[in-house]
Point group: D2
Chain length 342, copies 4
Amino acid sequence: MTYNIAIIGASGYTGAELIRLISEHPALNITALAANSKAGLSMAQVFPHLRHLDLPTLIRWDEIDFSAIDLCFCALPHKTSQEVISQLPKGLKIVDLSADFRLRDPAAYEAWYGNPHAAPELQKEAVYGLTEFYRDDIRAARLVAGTGCNAATGQYVLRPLIAAGVIDLDHIILDMKCAVSGAGRALKENLLHAELSEGYHGYALGGTHRHQGEFEQEFSALAGKAVTIQFTPHLLPVNRGILCTSYVHGDAHVIYETLSAAYADEAFVQVLPFGEGPSTHHVRGSNHVHLGVVADRIGGRAIVIGALDNLTKGSSGQALQNANLMLDLDETLGLTMAPLFP
Amino acid sequence: MTYNIAIIGASGYTGAELIRLISEHPALNITALAANSKAGLSMAQVFPHLRHLDLPTLIRWDEIDFSAIDLCFCALPHKTSQEVISQLPKGLKIVDLSADFRLRDPAAYEAWYGNPHAAPELQKEAVYGLTEFYRDDIRAARLVAGTGCNAATGQYVLRPLIAAGVIDLDHIILDMKCAVSGAGRALKENLLHAELSEGYHGYALGGTHRHQGEFEQEFSALAGKAVTIQFTPHLLPVNRGILCTSYVHGDAHVIYETLSAAYADEAFVQVLPFGEGPSTHHVRGSNHVHLGVVADRIGGRAIVIGALDNLTKGSSGQALQNANLMLDLDETLGLTMAPLFP
Amino acid sequence: MTYNIAIIGASGYTGAELIRLISEHPALNITALAANSKAGLSMAQVFPHLRHLDLPTLIRWDEIDFSAIDLCFCALPHKTSQEVISQLPKGLKIVDLSADFRLRDPAAYEAWYGNPHAAPELQKEAVYGLTEFYRDDIRAARLVAGTGCNAATGQYVLRPLIAAGVIDLDHIILDMKCAVSGAGRALKENLLHAELSEGYHGYALGGTHRHQGEFEQEFSALAGKAVTIQFTPHLLPVNRGILCTSYVHGDAHVIYETLSAAYADEAFVQVLPFGEGPSTHHVRGSNHVHLGVVADRIGGRAIVIGALDNLTKGSSGQALQNANLMLDLDETLGLTMAPLFP
Amino acid sequence: MTYNIAIIGASGYTGAELIRLISEHPALNITALAANSKAGLSMAQVFPHLRHLDLPTLIRWDEIDFSAIDLCFCALPHKTSQEVISQLPKGLKIVDLSADFRLRDPAAYEAWYGNPHAAPELQKEAVYGLTEFYRDDIRAARLVAGTGCNAATGQYVLRPLIAAGVIDLDHIILDMKCAVSGAGRALKENLLHAELSEGYHGYALGGTHRHQGEFEQEFSALAGKAVTIQFTPHLLPVNRGILCTSYVHGDAHVIYETLSAAYADEAFVQVLPFGEGPSTHHVRGSNHVHLGVVADRIGGRAIVIGALDNLTKGSSGQALQNANLMLDLDETLGLTMAPLFP
């Protein structure tokens, strides 16, 4: 059985990454590709690395015949996404990769994004797309909200620890190092090669990054009380990969056992031997998460480090994993490729 | 039907790339991995990006039980390779990725590599592994010699043109730009990040690179007379990708038609629209070759540019494509993944 | 004696590079900085790496009091530059870094740039700014036109050879490799880190790059007849540096002697030992040019390679060297810093 | 007045950086360059970017005529350095760039470096080389011990805060991001371009990096009691630059005022406007330190970020600044160049 897939927002990096992954998927067929600003172009013109594939020409999203579509990925910028999705057929299965449906609370959405939500009823319906923790809900969902890439990385590190109550909730610091593709294909001076290459810096300092809202929503729900963490992202001169260095108070060995047990049956999450740390090199281009736990020389403190590819497990790979669940397919289809190294 | 595969020299980049590719191959099973200097280690220790795979522990090559092996990849340094292969079972199918069996003439081998060949009878038996041009011979071969990565790139550009007689053999210049992984995992000062990153330079200037020997062997055979070209490699601060800018005398449109016709039925060679040039970005991590033809403003001259990934189509992907042929499998198995971009 | 300097176009890379150099110059004082789009900002806001300097706030260029200015650098985009310079005081010494006054022939200008020149009388007055070859004219000039960065690199390689008649004018190929800062701080998709890093490609293929016009103007004047060359630029994932690999017909030793003699007394041009090639690593951030000559294995052919930093010797360093001459100062003032390596 | 300088260990990156800086110093003359493994070579052979300078040929260190030397820089690996320095003339002024004389306590040295100190009497004599905090001692010193590059970065962030008692000593975390040149020119697999480029990871996790010893020595002395911090370095794919993201408990505005006051008169330390963070881009190749203070959304917590160039302010620039003091010269001589950007 083959399912017909549409991708809205196919001219950005997450759209291209979806196509890369689906091109090796045995049960999905790309039926429609939309990108309003590049409608009429072939994918070979927009992304020459996909020229070997037989893909539909880009059209406007309202030109898609949704009656023929089994599932639609929406890879639009936030705010645009909610406007478009609210106009799509009500029964259509949708995986949204934007930020628009991640926060469940309309007030929290408005606080972090600066505008009232245009589709609050959809916001209520949406299931948070962190597969390993929302698997059953996702399987039953019509609309799944892909997580932030930083938010995913931090949650792989912390969720089992918060759920098990093995770390001090008042002392959680996430020092995040992020690749540039997370910012998308937007034309901004600070994303130019000459501005980024050969240097690095922090940004959204002091807890002002929007993914902070996701952390607080999810961690508070897990803990059963308000949890606030410290989260500082840094922009690095590489194209793919997030490394999250987490500083926590707790027993490192208990933390290690907790993480190992939590992910023992997961296909895409590997916990490294105790004392070792992961590298973004070793997950690049793959759907894998690597986690490492180290005891600090100060007793009762641990460093937990997570690494994943922001475009794959942090975005498009996660989206495909969720789509597999929504279509009742093997969750790993199209996602088993090994990382690219070097 | 599944075939059992051994890889000798599994601790280098081409060995790791073979494992990456074979991990997605439906009919090959990695039965033995050898690397004498790292025998006893797991692949997760040597290449942590492969830790999600269930792979045999590294052993010494003479510990392999070859009676259980259907085909062996040999990814050793040149000179070591001829010594090892001459001790392997005489009936074993072998794909060698080293330089040891590329040149058919023992005198040419000695001239380019500085030592007499230790296994001249194997040298005679070996088939040159440029798949698209030696397909039938490879299918029937026992020992296939993988080509040089630069040599492959230049030949995709030039072979059809020389065979068709549409360019002037006295005026062929290949200005080659090469990624650093082509030099392998060797500990050399000029391969350090601090020495390479943020700059570039030519090397093996004046026609002294060993792949020159391959060009001359192959082009002379095609032309039916001695052909000498100019070939200058440059080392670039990227990990994967070769770009070959070729300057030739001939009619650009005839050249374009000749290349288009030659590769019309090839799965892994794409000729771009006339006037466009390829980029290494668009083939990275894939088995594809992109070719572009442009007319120079000087009449009767053309620029033909080829791009491929040196570790995939230029080495391990080519090797797997040849192994597929030798095992009578679909030539594209394990090789259909799209490039990684960005 | 100190001279007062203005820089128009101070918010681009060449403007910032001028400030970097002048900050160490013993006889120049930056009196005014203009950038219309960023007027009112401090340089620390526009270029935080200059925050340690005591610099004037950015203003609009028409707010500059030119009566207090001894020499003005104009680092505007081409076309804008001619419009602005035509409105500046007629006696003001000006070094222009744009493309607007490089070509002496109005028809050639229009052919390469697509618009008629707005200030043809200034075009006639301007002196071409390749210091080592126009030194006396520059010393006497009021308006000096900085050369293209690729054009400078190619001319350091070829001018003495063409002047001496030691190479065949019908077979000159310049394969140029260029850093991304040459494209400036413009917001273009192809200049994003994610599009550039980890790959490379040719552009302006087939002799269509505008610096081709400079080559032809200058080489034809030197040769006393029309000279057309082949010139193919490539964009590399580094921020600074141009490497020009030149393929010529001629005796390599004669070429070497010709270059060595031509540059024997030059402070900023080093000819490497015969047979060695330069690297952009070794000139980065400096005003030096490194040149290497190698004999090809094909008799009568040579490879001549030049390397310089496009922002320094290829643009702002050249401009300062010319300003020193125009102000009757030691030509090397402010330009003697060593390259930055690694 | 000109002073004669020797550099022992001139073939490594810190040696080359010293030469780069001294080449623009008005009062220092390089009289001898030693590198035992490369004795007999010219500097142009070892570091081609220095070929424009007129430098002495490399010799063995015991060939130096120290009677003609006013001050000697020692840029050897640790352990070798103490052996060599103990054999140098007892009255010779020495700036050591190794780790050998940073720790004052022989037991601490042995604990962190694994061997008993070979010259404990010199260890006692040495002055710690963090210029801004040991200026008077350095001026009077015969032997100055250059600090670790990470140790310098962390101390610029924290020393004034600990001295003023404005942060909680039990909750200090330094998440450090380090460029690769800090590891020197050693041939190690993990320093190869193919292993480093395009990814990043932590190392020396859990407080095991040797610069931890420096932090604890210095901070405990300042606080008057034992201080232990958390310090995690990460290796980034760039050649120069350290960014230290420090998480502290304290009032952000008090912290800001404390740092601003501490560095108000320093030529090489800039405190950014409150709320802004520094970038390694903006200090590269310079002797400057940029510091930024941000309030976290959690009350009573602050993020303090420091950036410097590990080869300049973190090593060779610091060494030259100290040498200026020891020779009673203006402290900033040879160190005023602006950063290189882009």
